[in-house]
Amino acid sequence: MRPIATTRAATGIATGKLAVWWVLASEVVIFGGLLASYIMFRLGHPEWADAAAVTNTTIGAVNTFVLLSSSLTAVLAHQAAERGDGRKAAQWLYCTIVGAATFIGIKTYEWWYEISHGYTITSNGFWAFYYSAAGLHAFHVIAGAVIMFIVARDAAKNIELHRVELIGIYWHFVDIVWIFLFPLLYIAK
């Protein structure tokens, strides 16, 4: 049984959705702090461009495409959930999880390649930020995929369908963080 408190909506916004937005607000400042530090350092160290030149823009672009596509399937899941079609919503969510897994797979290959060529987190400042920022983001991708799996399992039984939208909002956020990381770590040579 839920408390009465959870069912109230004095703002007119469902409580779950409100909370997700506040979670994102707190996440924005975490990534904001990290990226602001990176940008300040990058401006002060023109020589980091040499290290940035090593990153593989093609792989980064492919991963961007994979992640954006997974956001599309998250939207399709939301649409299905709105129609009350839990089974369809679950299927689209599983597609999104496959997208997340592909992203992590490509990332693993990329990191393995770079580490085996001697570019490790301790190589210099650029690589320290590269692995920390992308690693923190990858951690969010994995966490999101796990939560999505739980939501999808329930949605398939038509339970808690409103959660499909909530995990979707979170997933778009993970996507947007990558949209900032991609140019900062790959394109800016």
Binding site: A5, T6, T15, L18, E27, V29, S37, G44
Partner: protein, 577 residues
């Protein structure tokens, strides 16, 4: 209410956990009731206050009587001294001020004051405490691992914090960062609950400006925490990487910069002052209105002032770094913002005074604590002006003046504010009336020694005594005899103050055992928590008796009413608003 509260508790609990309810003490451990979680936070915080107080006792003894065999601890080595000072600061702020004021009273008061049966996410709330509990274990463990606890000051500036060849505490310093990081996670989880509960779960009829000010303050504090802690969490990740895998985020030799940590730390650290200050100020305003029997002066102005304070608090952080080599033009800007932020805080103090003016004042224990808060915090605030001005700060930086200043702000917040809240809401939380005479003995036994500790330290600071020296007798040219007398006076006062805390614990014990039973509304106050049983049952009110709100919480001494108070849930007589 016809039904006894006990049956109600049992009945509802049965509904909640019918299929998976743990039994016995596990039921307590896994409770999702906001009141139980509040108690868990409060008792953990009080335990940590004893730990932090003990640390203060040990290093003050060392300062007053260098090289003495401190009873209960032994000889204090320089490394241990630094670890004690560091963890005293860390524990008092993150494990005492925050859990007691923000988490315990936030959890206890928000649902009761907005007329809800619980937080909106009871399980997230429980998770918040559990993470906090783990963080407590981590920070305590960090004190006893090989090499000892972290000893690089609670601000943890690199390179001292980042490189174990400097700090000599490879395990302690990493555990310290992990412990603090976990504590942040716990308060983020709790904060999301506080904010959404206030936004969405107010009782029918309760508009934004019918919410008691303490709830506003706690929620604004949670938002400040949420928006300022992120960069420091990012910084904590960088610091752990620097410590453990050898990156160079804060190491100039590897292209990093130690000043970056100072920015990340103080970007959080300064709003953090307001994160703990605002709940205390809210507690004080509730007590002052109740015991002055007057409507709070300028309710809306208070709310706008608090929001303005919150916004400004994000633009003052570099006043901690005036001697860190920042650009003097930058120092000018931060001097101006720092002096500006004293305006809204001074305004709040005027609101207290204006609320008291012409009221019929009852000087009982909670009211004494509340008034003492205003008086002592004022000293803390005024001495802050000296430190906020870059010119004066260059002289005062890292002296005992700074130390005395921030103890005149944090002691009123964490100790006086907490005692005010505990003595005021004790009847509601535990259903018994505390002994007022013992309460007053404890009050004077705390307040007088407190001033006797820190006024000498102000004097020492103005004499130029540096605050991070382990043994002044090593520096004969600095250690004038009367300086040492001042240190002995401060330490003696601390011992007196610590001794008087036993009165509080005795009062607590005596009240629980023999105290008179508290009625629903012992102080004749207006806000919703006083409309239910003391202590409130699980669910706070019977489901069919959930309160409906008709007015703001400060309608005291309304003309043409027989009672001098007007509970928020009492319908207005027919025909009037």
């Amino acid at each position: 209410m016809v039904e006894p509260a006990v049956d109600l508790t049992h009945g509802q609990h049965h509904d909640d956990h019918a299929d998976h309810g743990p039994q016995g003490w596990l039921k307590y451990l896994w409770s999702t009731d906001h009141k139980v979680i509040a108690m868990q936070y409060m008792f953990t915080g009080m335990f940590m206050a004893l730990v932090g107080g003990f640390m203060a006792y040990v290093f003050r003894m060392q300062l007053a009587f260098p090289g003495i065999d401190v009873p209960g601890f032994g000889m204090v080595s320089p490394g241990e001294y630094n670890a004690l000072v560091t963890n005293h600061g860390t524990i008092m702020i993150f494990w005492v001020a925050m859990p007691v004021l923000l988490a315990a009273f936030g959890n206890y008061l928000i649902p009761l004051m907005v007329g809800a049966d619980d937080m909106v996410f009871p399980k997230v709330n429980r998770l918040s405490f559990q993470v906090f509990f783990v963080s407590t274990i981590v920070i305590l463990a960090s004190l006893v691992v090989e090499g000892g606890g972290f000893a690089g000051a609670w601000t943890a500036y690199p390179p001292l914090s980042a490189d174990s060849t400097y700090n000599l505490t490879p395990l302690g310093s990493t555990l310290w960062v992990i412990g603090v990081g976990l504590e942040f996670v716990a308060f983020l989880l709790g904060g999301i609950n506080f904010i959404t509960t206030l936004m969405n779960s107010r009782a029918p009829g309760m508009r934004a400006f019918d919410v008691p000010i303490v709830v506003w303050m706690i929620v604004v504090a949670s938002i400040l925490f949420m928006l300022s802690v992120g960069p420091l969490l990012a910084g904590a990740i960088m610091l752990i990487f620097d410590q453990t895998i050898g990156t160079g985020f804060f190491n100039p030799a590897m292209g990093g910069d130690p000043i970056l940590w100072q920015h990340l730390f103080w970007f959080f650290g300064h709003p953090e002052v307001y994160v703990v200050l605002l709940p205390a100020m809210g507690v004080v305003i509730e007590i002052i209105t109740t015991f002055a029997r007057k409507k709070v002066f300028a309710y809306r102005t208070v709310i706008f002032t608090v929001v303005a304070t919150g916004v400004l608090s994000f633009f003052v952080w570099a006043h901690h770094q005036f001697i860190a080599g920042i650009d003097p033009r930058m120092a000018n800007i931060f001097t101006i913002t720092t002096l500006l932020i004293s305006v809204p805080i001074a305004e709040l103090c005027f609101v207290y005074i204006a609320t008291l003016y012409g009221g019929s004042i009852t000087l009982n224990t909670p009211m004494l604590w509340a008034l003492a808060f205003v008086a002592t915090f004022l000293i803390g605030g005024v001495t802050g002006i000296f430190l906020g001005a870059a010119g004066a700060d260059i002289y005062f930086h890292d002296t005992y003046f700074v130390l005395a200043h921030f103890h005149y702000t944090f002691f009123p917040i964490a100790i006086i504010g907490a005692f005010a809240a505990i003595t005021y809401w004790f009847p509601k939380m535990f259903g018994k009336m505390m002994d007022d005479r013992l309460g007053k003995i404890h009050f004077w036994g705390t307040i007088i020694p407190f001033n006797m500790i820190f006024i000498p330290l102000f004097v020492l600071g103005m004499g130029g005594q540096h605050r991070r020296i382990y043994n002044y007798s090593h520096f004969p040219e600095l250690a004038l005899d009367w300086f040492q007398d001042m240190r002995v006076l401060a330490t003696g006062s601390l011992l007196v103050m610590l001794a008087f805390q036993s009165v509080f614990f005795y009062n607590w014990y005596k009240t629980i055992r023999h105290g008179p039973k508290a009625p629903k509304n012992p102080w004749k106050a207006n806000s919703l928590e006083w409309t239910t049983e003391s202590p409130p049952p699980h669910g706070n009110w019977r489901p069919d008796e959930m309160p409906v709100v008709y007015r703001g919480p400060y309608e005291y001494s309304t003309p043409d009413r027989e009672d001098d108070y007007w509970p928020q849930n009492e319908p207005s007589p027919r025909g009037s608003a």
